[in-house]
């Protein structure tokens, strides 16, 4: 089942955060991933994200994403290694290839490719975390304060998607029972068989949408100005997490302006650890980003902390 890749209510701490503080945490992780290119920092961000995913019991689903992403990481490393000539430490002298020239692979190009792959893993993991901790309706609630109709359209679309996937499965089963073999035939023939699936899906969806619209009309949709139902409460935990996220962003921006968190790959690799300031800066950012995780641990294991936040 695809369920495990999407939000499921498990009553966990990170899921109980207000959507604003949860979204801000996710946004800060994403911004920092794009801001830094230092492999240690990217590894640190990955560690924080994976620990958060573990805290919401999503590690099994993440592993699937991870395995799929590893293929992409591998491709990035290969492509970067064979196309970039900026590195000085050549580790493999390849043959001459027309158009590309001589195929020399440098250590710097391989490391840069690996660093980009690591960033891709970070982004993928943050996307996973978003899926696991934020209920889509709660994001819609938040967005609807600014544009209620757009939020409603998004909500309808997010509800329709799993429904359409499930419907497509049913139609495929029906076609298979009527003698259609989706694995047989040429590519053109197979495309024709899939086109039938899409045709039925669209026809049925069109018919269904009329009934949905009727149900919406019967419940006064479009009858005038809508109000907005807020079901999220702001707790101390949200203030703490939001503050930690903003401090992490502030510290990261300050450090980045001072040249910290960046790594020079070309023409030769720079030192991985560039002094005491860099270490302090790195641990400060990671500590601040780990704050929600510490609270999560406390919430699950310490009744006192749970009662206070």
């Amino acid at each position: 089942m695809l369920d495990r890749f999407f939000y499921r209510e498990k009553g966990l701490f990170l899921q109980s955060l207000h959507p604003l503080s949860a979204l801000m945490y996710i946004a800060v992780l994403l911004v920092l991933t794009l801001m830094f290119n230092h492999p240690l920092y990217l590894l640190g961000l990955l560690a924080v994200t994976v620990t958060a995913i573990r805290a919401v019991d999503g590690i099994d689903a993440w592993k699937t994403f991870f395995k799929v992403s590893l293929g992409a990481v591998f491709v990035i490393i290969i492509v970067n290694a064979v196309t970039v000539r900026a590195g000085e430490t050549v580790i493999w002298h390849g043959p001459y290839i027309p158009v590309f020239g001589k195929l020399d692979v440098s250590l710097e190009a391989v490391c840069y490719g690996a660093d980009m792959g690591l960033r891709l893993l970070d982004i993928m993991s943050i996307f996973c975390l978003y899926n696991f901790i934020i209920h889509p309706d709660r994001v819609m609630d938040l967005l609807s304060r600014f544009s209620s109709k757009s939020a409603l359209v998004l909500s309808l679309a997010s509800r329709m998607y799993p429904a359409m996937v499930s419907r497509l499965d049913s139609i495929r089963e029906v076609q298979a029972a009527r003698g259609v073999d989706f694995n047989a035939g040429t590519l053109k023939e197979r495309m024709g068989k899939y086109a039938v699936l899409i045709k039925i899906l669209l026809l049925t969806s069109l018919e269904d949408s009329l009934e949905t619209a009727e149900a919406m009309y019967a419940r006064a949709f479009g009858s005038g100005r809508r109000s907005h139902y807020v079901r999220d409460v702001w707790r101390l935990r949200d203030s703490v997490c939001l503050t930690a996220s903003l401090l992490a962003l502030g510290a990261a921006t300050y450090g980045w302006a001072k040249g910290l968190g960046t790594f020079s790959f070309y023409p030769r690799l720079a030192y991985l650890i560039d002094g005491y300031t860099g270490i302090v800066f790195f641990f400060t950012v990671i500590f601040l980003l780990s704050f929600p995780l510490m609270l999560s641990w406390g919430w699950h294991n310490c009744p006192f902390i749970k009662s206070k936040i």
Binding site: M140, P162, T204, A215, R219, S223
Partner: protein, 556 residues
């Protein structure tokens, strides 16, 4: 002053030359429980839409006559005012749920009404507690069971605190227990809160007795109107099928007092009839079992990827000539059983043999599919060609079978000749079901698997389908169908299988299984329980039960 006053109401849908409603005149009182019954196309849903303000507001079309709500012309009322007063729950809960989660779904209507936050929070909490939905507050609507979805649809409407609740076949997709639960809830709303209830229903055995007044429609007009007893008496004498089986039985035996509940029927039965002799004989269809079953399942298990075991240790055999009804609650594994038999799902463990051969090894996938016909719950999933004829030819072409008159034969059998060149998407729900069935039966499969084939069919269409299936079995095929319609199962099935949580808990002749069950039984079966066990239908009761000579006081 009546709540609704309808005077000479006539209505045409856009582009239609035939009126959906014609000269309808009626009043509806505040706090009344009104049941509207009738066949497909009789105008009952159109009438409900008029009362909910959807006609002409949403549908357009031409409307004549007048409808007054609390003394005001409904055409003069704006959409929001009507929605505040009149709530409508539709037949298909899936299509009326709009939001992703339960709480947001309930809030949707309240937001549309522009209510303040505090008021919304109070109403949502109240309705969730009343309907027992509090634990599902954060749940995704797609994950809910059929019964929960219908309850949520009701909650979403109730939160708007309407004074009128209109229900358009709300239990058509629910199992008997969930349907009973739903109607009890509606009755409570009517009795405790004083809500006016207008219920449209085909399965009258479930709700006839709940109504204060019954209206039976035909051809867009009101045919009968009165208390359930009055309508039952008049309809029974005119051979109108839209009365519950208990009432039909007593009307046909010439009783003046027509009971509409099982309790009343049981009392009258014991007072006026003598128990049949123990060795009473019922003409059940006798199935001659061949030695080799058409399909055999040995220790079959199936689990979905999320680990849910939908089938557990299934051992079944299906023989030629059998019409088997598979019963059970929503989620019991009935549809999974059919899909596994159709070869659409591969069992995790166990063996399925078709006519003595296993798929893959001695019988190819294509050959399996041509021997087994499968009709899913949604007939629209079959229809994409421009004409009904093309739809049938498509299946034959896929299996490489030459038509050889098969199309004409199946069209005659299912009375589809008039629709031969019609686009199947332009047909009614019942007609679509027939076209989908025809597209499966056209290859003459030895084993026909039907997933809830009576859904959306009216009484007459069910009779027609039942006869076709029985005849098909007589010709040497086996039909296995899932259904929540006990009356249909009792009438046409020869064998019943009951499932619970993925297991077969009961398998036997229809009369044995249904007469032993309390909830999965017919209305006549419940009435005759302990008096004439094994009697399930009005026709059987008429054949077996004879009025006692001393018990004629309630007869004419």
């Amino acid at each position: 002053m009546p709540l609704y006053q309808i005077k000479n109401l006539t209505y045409f849908y856009p582009d239609s030359q035939r009126p959906a409603l014609k000269d309808v005149n009626m009043n509806i009182e505040e706090g009344e429980f009104l049941l509207i019954a009738g066949g497909s196309g009789s105008g009952k849903s159109s009438l409900a839409r008029v009362l909910a303000g959807l006609i002409p507001g949403f549908y357009g079309g031409r409307i004549g006559g007048s409808v007054f709500f609390r003394g005001k012309d409904i055409k003069q009322l704006d959409q929001r005012s009507i929605a505040r007063e009149v709530g409508m729950v539709f037949q298909d809960s899936e299509k009326q749920l709009i939001m992703t989660s339960v709480e947001a779904e309930i809030a949707f209507g309240l937001e549309n009404l522009g209510l303040p936050r505090q008021e919304m929070a109070r109403r949502i909490a109240e309705v969730m507690s009343f309907l027992g939905l509090a634990e599902l507050r954060q749940e995704f609507t797609v994950k809910l069971s059929g019964g929960q979805k219908q309850k949520l649809a009701l909650a979403a409407v109730l939160a708007m605190q309407p004074s009128v609740l209109i229900l358009d076949e709300p239990t058509s997709q629910l199992d008997p227990v969930a349907a009973e639960d739903f109607f009890n809830l509606v009755k409570r709303l009517n009795e405790d809160i004083g809500m006016t209830v207008i219920l449209i229903e085909q399965r009258l055995e479930r709700c006839f007795h709940l109504a204060d007044r019954v209206v039976i429609m035909e051809g867009g007009r009101i045919k009968y109107e009165g208390t359930p007893e009055q309508v039952a008496r008049r309809a029974a004498h005119c051979e109108n099928p839209f009365i519950p089986p208990v009432a039909r039985f007593f009307a046909k035996t010439g009783f003046n007092t027509i009971p509409v509940t099982v309790k009343e029927g049981r009392r009258m039965l014991r007072e006026n009839f003598s128990p049949p002799s123990r060795d009473f004989y019922l003409k059940h269809p006798v199935v001659v079992r061949e030695e080799e079953p058409i399909l055999r399942m040995d220790r079959v298990w199936f689990a979905y990827p999320d680990g849910r075991e939908a089938l557990q240790d299934i051992n079944l055999q299906f023989f030629a000539g059998e019409l088997v009804a598979v019963l059970g609650a929503n989620g019991a594994g009935k549809s999974t059983l059919l899909k596994t038999m159709a070869g659409l799902l591969k069992p995790g463990r166990g063996r399925i043999m078709l006519m003595g051969r296993e798929p893959g090894s001695s019988i190819s996938r294509g050959a399996w599919n041509s021997c087994v016909g499968y009709l899913s719950q949604n007939p629209s999933d079959y229809l994409f060609h421009d004409t009904v004829e093309e739809e049938l030819l498509y299946t034959l072409k896929n299996f490489g079978i030459s038509p050889n008159g098969a199309v004409d034969e199946i069209m005659d059998k299912l009375s589809l000749q008039d629709f031969r060149h019609v686009n199947p998407r332009d047909l009614s729900c019942g007609e679509r079901q027939k076209v989908a069935l025809a597209s499966v039966m056209v290859t003459r499969p030895k084993l026909l698997l039907l997933d809830e084939p009576t859904r959306g069919l009216d009484y007459r269409q069910k009779i027609e389908m039942g006869k076709v299936l029985v005849e098909y079995c007589r010709q040497g095929a086996s039909v296995v169908l899932t259904t929540h319609d006990m009356e249909f199962a009792a009438e046409y099935a020869s064998r019943v299988i009951m499932m619970f949580c993925g297991r077969v808990i009961c398998d036997g002749p229809v009369h044995q299984v249904l007469s032993e069950s309390i909830f999965y039984s017919t209305q006549i079966g419940r009435m005759c329980r302990g008096f004439a066990d094994g009697v399930l239908t009005p026709e059987e009761a008429l054949a077996v039960l004879k009025p006692a000579s001393s018990g004629k006081r309630e007869r004419k």
